[in-house]
């Protein structure tokens, strides 16, 4: 039982991290109509900025601030130099240009930081396990990630529904020409939204970098998972991204844990683990296919 609860927490933790990635993707798509393959690079930028600053200053928290700043700055610069030329283009040009940006970011980072992974450790205050009610031991840091992710989800909800910026973002999603006609500085709004999405990705990169490894190419696997989340949730819907992220997080974690056990009931152990792991690695894509059959525009997307 404690094992199941621990696995549910793990699924939740993966889910909220994916949400941070997917929220930026889906916002940028909803407001600007842009598909951004380079979102994973911003995740990497955040992780590298955090690792570099944390190593130089000895403070993880300064590193986190640096990750937000660096990712937001990288996002803003990329938006100003490249991305804004793409809004009027078709998706094909967007895919190509952002694919090119991945190459530039990845190799550029390798150029600056070398080929070996960077060191980034969990801050001392969150290090080690914590005992939850019911005697469950769980990593304090992962618990903090869950809390931070949920807080950001609430904050994002408040930002979009309660603030002036949020009103503009929603207006931008429903009618781009109209809000420009109403005198909103649309290009500034776009830069802000893009930088916001980038900062969320960078933040996720920094948080995850501390328990995984900080290295070139870390962003793309997460990017593809985030795509799956966005497709499941419905493109443009932040709420959909949240639900989709939790679904994907749970499916992936529980699938990896339960499928080998399931196959173990009627196969010999080594082929059961191997078949189970093979299927588990495909489970979220199967989930995506099932959602698409039922709702082609995702759970919370507008009908196509």
């Amino acid at each position: 039982m404690t094992l199941i609860i621990e696995q549910l927490l793990n699924g939740l933790q993966l889910g909220v991290m994916l949400f941070l990635m997917a929220a930026g993707l889906t916002l940028v798509f909803g407001v600007m109509g842009l598909i951004n393959l380079a979102h994973g690079s911003l995740y990497m930028v955040g992780a590298f900025a955090c690792a570099a600053v944390a190593t130089a200053t000895g403070s993880f928290w300064l590193g986190v601030i640096a990750s937000l700043a660096a990712a937001a700055a990288a996002g803003a610069i990329v938006e100003l130099v490249v991305i804004r030329r793409l809004y009027s283009r078709d998706h094909l040009d967007q895919v190509l240009a952002t694919f090119a940006l991945i190459l530039v970011f990845s190799e550029g980072t390798r150029w600056l930081f070398g080929s070996f992974p960077l060191f980034l450790d969990v801050p001392a205050a969150f290090s080690g396990p914590v005992t939850l009610p019911g005697g469950i031991e769980y990593s304090r840091y992962r618990l903090a990630i869950i809390a931070a992710g949920l807080l950001i989800a609430v904050g994002l909800y408040a930002l979009i529904t309660k603030t002036r910026l949020g009103i503009r973002i929603r207006a931008g999603e429903s009618d781009r020409e109209m809000i420009a006609a109403l005198g909103v500085d649309i290009s500034k709004l776009y830069t802000i939204v893009f930088a916001l999405g980038a900062a969320l990705a960078g933040f996720a990169g920094a948080l995850v970098g501390a328990i995984q490894s900080v290295q070139v190419g870390m962003g793309e696997p997460v990017l593809i998972l985030a795509f799956v989340v966005v497709v499941i949730g419905g493109i443009g819907s932040v709420k959909g991204a949240f639900v989709g992220a939790l679904l994907v997080g749970m499916t992936d974690t529980l699938g990896r844990f339960l499928l080998p056990v399931f196959f173990g009931t009627f196969m010999d152990p080594s082929s059961a683990t191997s078949v189970g792991s093979a299927l588990a690695s495909m489970s979220i894509y199967i989930l995506m296919a099932l959602v698409l059959v039922a709702k082609p525009s995702g759970l919370y997307g507008d009908a196509i």
Partner: protein, 327 residues
Amino acid sequence: MLRERILNFVFAFGLLAVPLIAYVSDAPFVITLATKVAILALAGVGLNIALGLGGLISLGHAAFFGIGGYAMGILASHAQSYTLLTTWPFEIAGTKSMLIIWVVALASSGLAALIIGALSLRTSGAYFIMITLAFGQMLFFFAISWPAYGGEDGLPIYLRNGFPGLNTLDPIQFFTITYVILGLALFLSSRLSKSRFGLALQATRQNPERVEAVGMRPFNIRLTAFLISGMITGLAGALFADLNRFVSPSMFSWQTSGEIMVFVILGGVGRLYGPVAGAALFILLEHWLGGINDYWQFLLGLILLGVVLFARGGLIGTLVGREVAHD
């Protein structure tokens, strides 16, 4: 259109002339490079039918490329170890015959294209891009974790498969095979774009409502285009595996999908010879920039960015001038 036709001739002739000169001057590796260009161009010709004619931005064509590759790898590995592929419901043996392998590669990638297409084409736009990417990734993980055919290690095939009357291990003869297939695919693609089906396909890209209004179902037209596109890319995958005498899951990776798309764009979307020009340019850049420094992909990224932002017609579009082939 005249200038484009002259250019097409230059590319077709150039791709033939380079390996011939290399053959005469005994530089076999240049022939191998030209073969690679021809095969990658073939994959691009496949994608171009979905992308250029149909406007279907598939970021998952590596799925078909990989399936074609594995069709070759699985058949040839059974032939090379003298084991049966299946014993039930009937016995199937492996084979080292290119012709049979091509048929199997076409059939299996076609089947995959039907399934992936039927699911993905329920959506459009950005959904379609992300979903095709995700399906490609799903097959990538499957290929890695399925141990029977080498998993992530891939499958080496020690001898290239055979073609009646030819010695396929001789670089120039193998090049000839790929060149002829590329020519056939280009011919098919050119006929297709002018056929009733091709016109309907281009109409579904520009105005699906109108297509529906005249009584055709855009879904069926798109699915057919996706099927043909996937099959051609699958055949390219089988040839690519034969070129390397090796298949691995990296053929399924999303970078492969991205690169196939890059060939098409570098050359010029919707241009008949776009993939040929693009693949040739890509291989040249890879060798030239790779020779300059280890971080050549950084420069490649910048060049690609430049092409997308400032030279929208790709290489052919730029050379031809302002005649725009796709809207």
